[in-house]
Point group: C2
Chain length 160, copies 2
Amino acid sequence: MVNLSNKIDGVILTELKQIYDERGAVLHMFRNDAPEFTTFGECYFSEVQPGAIKAWKRHRIQTQNLAVPIGRICLVITDTRRDSSSKGVIQTFIMGRPNNYNRVSIAPGLWYGFKCISDRPALIANCADMPHQPSESEVCEDEDFDISYEWAQHTTDGLP
Amino acid sequence: MVNLSNKIDGVILTELKQIYDERGAVLHMFRNDAPEFTTFGECYFSEVQPGAIKAWKRHRIQTQNLAVPIGRICLVITDTRRDSSSKGVIQTFIMGRPNNYNRVSIAPGLWYGFKCISDRPALIANCADMPHQPSESEVCEDEDFDISYEWAQHTTDGLP
């Protein structure tokens, strides 16, 4: 079966609630009754300096659940899985407030990377389904990657 | 038994790891093998504008696990529990990078509140042990509270 939707099988985008308060907003991230919740392994943060790229990473077992409460990133996911119905699809998400405060879940086996496009550092939160285990993930530096993605097309948006 | 340690029974302070990376740090928050981990209910964020106070709040059932990846806050916890060995103790924590990147766990039954002391808005992350249920928490505005805490003593630290 060929996937013609330009959506990667195993990637879930969910809009998250931002609750206004003049002292500072409350921002939803992840609940144990979310449809894609399975188990809680670890919550951690990855800060990304403006213009910096962290790419590429792939997990063998771990599922990522990402949200960006501070700043904005461009998240790129590419499906190179041999037997995937969406093999060859590249999906791109702008993530961050105010207009794209979303959660993106990334199944194991998918390569992903991100670039900070805001003028201030972005903060990515990950509620992964297992605690960090170095042995179950791979990192592949951009220049070695068979899909040399054009990160330069995502420029800083000039906003804080 | 009278608690003379100035520590509140049910409050746990844990130093968290900050892993340096020139593209942006990785910041630990909470793992399912942490000694105080029980269940995962919900992860959410609370932003606090510079100088703003969010106080007081008390949960009947929910345990909070707080960390501050962006900006800095002063967290105040006060023990008014009738049968607590630390009844009457007020504990104060400065939380935030670079020097106080910690997790504070707050047991149910304790009143707590916080003030942003950094020049930029602070971001508080909470990995609570149950999803938000309005019926299990109480909010008490400062002026009604029997301990009128001197928030003014915690001034902005003048740093971003």
